[in-house]
């Protein structure tokens, strides 16, 4: 079934080409089907070689790839159903569908790609097409979010490009292998972290994320936050020498970065009022958590086999849950009927994200425990515990905001609702399928205090609304961006004050040159030759020439 692999990327591309046709509005819903089929049917660890394609293409699925392909395809399918229904007949709906399918194609392709160039191809396609999703709404806020997203994404892509070139040079080929990655130099690793770190929302490269994910339409937000940010982790797991050699310094660095991300995203998320922004910060925080874990893996190669599988599980859980949250939020905003059901679903998902027992979150957390246990610093477990607490609080905040959301009833939400229900089912079944019963309980220790704390906060804000107002919305989405925006303004002001000088200088120079040119060319030339036609002048010159000649002959 290897032939399914090329289809994974080609099919959505074909869809993007065909979707402008009015009758094919439903194509986004079916774009990820070959990927789903491939994830289930394609044999593991065998690859399809296409040496003539690009710089030599190798497609294939390994264990991690299959997990990724599975949850990515699932999420894209559900989101695709939402997108197709939501955008049908809307203004620019077809444009949205094109970019949606392009981003889908890139996302799926980079998972099945086993060589650097195709990974980059998928990554770039996904990154650029997402821009179209982010700015779809066309409001000034959307455009700003898109601009920030694009600038940072391009920085990331360029850094990734440099990293990939360095890795390719190191490998001597474009197909990476664990052995080949041994001894990778620091520049490559640094660039790789930088390049993918943007996509992952690693602090301080995250400010685009809380802006862009909420700006996109719901279906796009779901895949952005659910599927697309996860590819950074995939890239790291594939291209860093994990399990080959210990890189303690880099491990420390990543751990620190993860902690910083966690510590930054959770509090900032708590004071947001837009549910999508809250979810976006939650994603940033989760990525921070994953980066932290990756740091541990990088420092200790022995953890690799177990750790990679655990991370895969965790990522799959988060992708489905976060995607589900976004999509549910969409239903909450738009669908008229069955709102209690939607709220119940959202509650379930929020619980799962907080890691409540019997949810996928519990299983994922359980899987990741050994990694935590081996962390370099003992207090990391504490920090992670605190973050879990904060996550619970964040989810409570989300539910609170989601309950009070203003609804705009729209017809025709049966199919997306059903699809969402399916997704809920998958999330619910997640622990049953993938986790041993021992892991179902998880770690309620952080959940219960969290819930209690949330209730406490609720009470407090009820009693003193001013207290809530003092915090809510004090930090704008994109936090750090607010700090550097004045820098940009100063630079602009500086340029504005300097520009006239420069321009004046240039104009002066140009005017001087023009004057010179006029002096040389424009005025009718006075005829200096007139002199050369006077006989005495001719005679003098002539005789002088003769004298010189004679002297020269006799010299």
């Amino acid at each position: 079934m290897l032939w399914l692999l090329p289809l994974v990327g080609l099919w959505p591309l074909l869809g993007a080409a065909l979707v402008p046709v009015q009758r094919l509005w439903w194509l986004p819903a079916f774009g990820a089907l070959p990927a789903l089929a491939a994830a289930l049917l394609a044999p593991l660890d065998s690859s399809l070689e296409l040496p003539w394609l690009l710089l030599g293409t190798r497609l294939g699925l390994d264990e991690l790839g299959r997990v990724y392909l599975l949850f990515t395809a699932l999420l894209w399918t559900v989101a695709g159903i939402h997108a197709a229904c939501e955008m049908r007949g809307q203004r620019h709906g077809r444009r949205f569908a094109i970019f949606f399918l392009l981003a889908m194609s890139g996302n799926l392709w980079l998972i099945v790609a086993q060589d650097l160039v195709n990974f980059y191809l998928g990554f770039a396609l996904m990154g650029l097409a997402s821009y179209g999703l982010v700015i779809h709404g066309g409001t000034p806020a959307n455009l700003r979010a898109g601009r920030v997203y694009l600038v940072m994404a391009l920085f990331g892509e360029v850094a990734l490009f440099a990293a990939l070139v360095l890795i390719a040079q190191h490998l001597g080929t474009v197909a990476p292998s664990p052995e080949g990655l041994a001894g990778l130099d620091d520049l490559s690793i640094g660039l790789l972290l930088l390049g993918l770190g943007v996509k992952a929302g690693m602090a301080p490269l995250h400010p685009w994320l809380p802006l862009a994910h909420p700006a996109a339409p719901i279906a796009a937000s779901a895949v952005l936050s659910g599927a697309m940010i996860k590819v950074a982790l995939l890239g790291w797991l594939r291209l860093l020498p994990i399990g080959v050699e210990p890189l303690p310094e880099w491990g420390t660095l990543l751990t620190t970065a993860g902690l910083v991300t966690l510590g930054l995203a959770l509090p900032v998320g708590l004071v947001q009022s837009d549910p999508k922004v809250i979810l976006a910060y939650s994603s940033v925080a989760k990525m921070g958590f994953l980066i932290l874990m990756l740091g541990a893996l990088l420092a200790e190669p022995a953890l690799a086999p177990l750790g990679v599988a655990a991370l895969g599980l965790y990522v799959a859980h988060h992708a489905l849950v976060k995607g589900g949250l976004f999509l549910g939020l969409g239903l909450r905003k738009s669908a008229s009927r069955a709102q209690p059901l939607v709220l119940a679903g959202l509650g379930l998902l929020a619980l799962a994200l907080a890691g409540a027992p019997l949810t996928s979150g519990a299983v994922a957390k359980d899987a990741i425990k050994p990694l935590l246990a081996s962390a370099q610093w003992p207090w990391i477990a504490t920090a992670v515990g605190l973050s879990a607490l904060a996550t619970t609080l964040l989810m409570a905040r989300f539910l609170w905001v989601a309950i009070r959301i203003e609804r705009h009833p729209l017809p025709g939400y049966g199919v997306p609702g059903a699809a969402w229900g399916l997704l809920l089912g998958l999330v619910a079944a997640f622990p049953l399928v993938l986790g041993a019963p021992a892991s179902w309980v998880g770690d309620p220790a952080t959940l219960i205090p969290g819930v209690l704390l949330a209730l406490g906060v609720l009470m407090l804000t009820r009693l003193w609304p001013a207290l809530a107002r003092a915090f809510i919305n004090r930090i704008p989405p994109g936090d750090l961006l607010a700090l550097i925006t004045p820098l940009g303004r100063w630079a602009q002001a500086l340029w504005r004050s300097l520009a006239p000088w420069l321009r004046a200088g240039r104009q002066d120079l140009a005017a001087a040159l023009a004057r010179l040119a006029r002096a040389l060319f424009e005025h009718p030339a006075p005829d200096p030759e007139r002199l050369l036609r006077h006989w005495p002048v001719i005679g003098t010159l002539w005789l002088a020439m003769g004298a010189l000649l004679l002297i020269a002959f006799l010299a």
Binding site: W52, L54, V117, L125, L154, F155, V158
Partner: protein
């Protein structure tokens, strides 16, 4: 004269003869002129096909004509010539179709197409020139043949642009001439030789060789638009779109870049040039040009001007590739010769389409053109994304190999240049794409042409950019396939670095 020596001559004549004949064609004879044009272009393509086959199989094609004692006109085809010849032949055909569509209703068509063909003849001559004097001859002929094309419109602006073009290129030509003669006086008459022919000159000539390199580089740099010799390029944007396309993608700019490649590889020899410390100079100049061109492009509102500065920047990738020691960087630079050509010609075709169909000349007028002309804008997008280096479009392949080569040669700073350049490229191309696709279209276009074919514009204007855009995509997608530009360039690099 044997068949083997006839082929290069025939390739030049296949555009020269139609070109001269076109001058005599009456202005109203559309059909005859079109026939001559297409016959020439197709013949050339067929001949080039034979040439590719022959050179691949190791045949030697060479024609010699003694001009004076010690001065020979040599036409010969090696793998590098074939690369450039095929590019010119292919793009000439496409551009001819486009030009016929573009200029069908403007005056002075016979003159235009005559010089158009002469221009291509000179370009092909440059590609096939087998020694430095022949190169110089065709290089100057190219200047001559291009001048009327730049001045073609006859507006004061056009004449001024052409004058500036001429001032630059002729000055460059003089530098090139003196350099070439000086070199010949040291080395004696020599053909281009893979690996260079100067390395056995005595140490005493070291200073002279450096000075000669500087002279030759100055001469070639004018056409290749190396900063600070690039001033003519944006000015010559007044020419009709097919001319700009040809100028930027195939003829003038490329001739300069091709000359630099010849100079480094087949005159000095890359290792000898490295030993003389000349590659650093070239690399620095190329890097400066790459960044400066992009920065200037950012500030341009005129679409063609922006593209022109983009050319300034992009063509220096070729020089950059030549300035890095090692086969991989050579591949990157040489393949960009082709890749930049097809991408830039696509962009110019599209710019011409906007101008001709909608009267849109400025970036600020491009709001919503994607809705009015989706196919053209699609082609434009492909070209622009390729320039940025997004895979799987051709430009990515060039950048990839340049980067690999730079690391191989321990020149990590090149990566930084590539990264900065990509970002700058994105900064001046993506806003255009944004406007074209996402902004609402205005109620009325500046000057919409009443002639409209079955599609968004006339067929002769629409097909060429679509075809070249497809080339851009295929050159990248099938980079590793046999007979792709990349594979051909690898053949050259293998021969240069045995």
């Amino acid at each position: 004269m044997t068949l083997a020596s006839l082929l290069p001559v025939a390739i030049i004549l296949s555009s020269l003869i139609p070109g001269l004949a076109i001058f005599l064609v009456r202005e109203e004879s559309h059909l005859l002129r079109g026939l001559l044009n297409m016959a020439g272009a197709l013949t050339k393509l067929a001949l080039v096909g034979v040439l590719i086959w022959g050179v691949y199989h190791g045949h030697v094609y060479e024609a010699r004509l003694a001009l004076a004692p010690g001065l020979e006109l040599v036409l010969s085809a090696d793998a590098l010539s074939v690369l450039f010849v095929s590019l010119s032949a292919l793009l000439w055909l496409v551009t001819t179709v486009y030009a016929i569509g573009y200029l069908e209703h403007s005056p002075n068509r016979s003159r235009f197409f005559g010089f158009f063909s002469l221009c291509v003849s000179a370009t092909v001559g440059i590609a096939l020139a087998g020694n430095l004097p022949s190169f110089v001859i065709f290089y100057e002929l190219l200047t001559l043949a291009t001048y009327p094309l730049v001045a073609h419109r006859g507006t004061p602006d056009a004449v001024r642009g052409a004058r500036i073009y001429l001032a630059y290129t002729l000055s460059g030509g003089v530098a090139l001439l003196i350099g070439a003669i000086w070199l010949q006086s040291l080395s004696g008459p020599q053909d281009f030789t893979q690996g260079g022919y100067l390395s056995n000159l005595s140490e005493a000539h070291r200073g002279a060789l450096i000075a000669i390199f500087a002279l030759l580089l100055a001469g070639l740099g004018v056409k290749a638009a190396l900063v600070p010799l690039h001033g003519w390029l944006p000015q010559s944007m007044v020419a009709p779109a097919p001319v700009s396309a040809l100028l930027h993608a195939v003829a003038v700019v490329k001739a300069g870049a091709f000359g630099i490649v010849r100079l480094v590889y087949d005159v000095y020899g890359v290792e000898f040039a490295h030993a003389l410390g000349l590659l650093g100079l070239l690399g620095a100049l190329a890097s400066l040009t790459i960044l400066y061109g992009s920065l200037r492009a950012l500030a341009q509102d005129g679409l063609k001007k922006r593209l022109a500065y983009s050319t300034v920047s992009q063509v220096s990738y070729i020089a950059l590739g030549a300035s890095i020691l090692g086969p991989v960087a050579t591949i990157g630079g040489l393949v960009h010769l082709v890749h930049q050509g097809i991408m830039k010609i696509t962009l110019f075709f599209c710019a011409g389409n906007y101008a001709e169909t909608l009267g849109v000349h400025r970036v600020s007028e491009m709001d919503g053109v994607g809705q009015r002309m989706p196919l053209t804008t699609l082609a434009f997008s492909l070209g622009a994304l390729g320039m940025i280096g997004i895979p799987p479009i051709a430009g990515f392949v060039s950048k990839w190999y340049l980067g690999l080569g730079a690391i191989e040669a321990q020149a990590h700073w090149v990566l930084l240049i590539l990264a900065l350049s990509s970002l700058l490229n994105a900064a001046y191309f993506l806003p255009i794409l944004y406007r074209a696709w996402f902004r609402p279209a205005p109620a009325a276009w500046p000057e919409e042409s009443p002639r409209r074919g079955r599609f968004e514009t006339q067929g002769a204007l629409l097909w060429p950019p679509l075809i070249t855009a497809a080339f851009c995509l295929l050159a990248g997608l099938l980079a590793a396939a046999p007979f792709s530009p990349l594979e051909w360039v690898e053949l050259i690099a293998r021969r240069e670095y045995p």
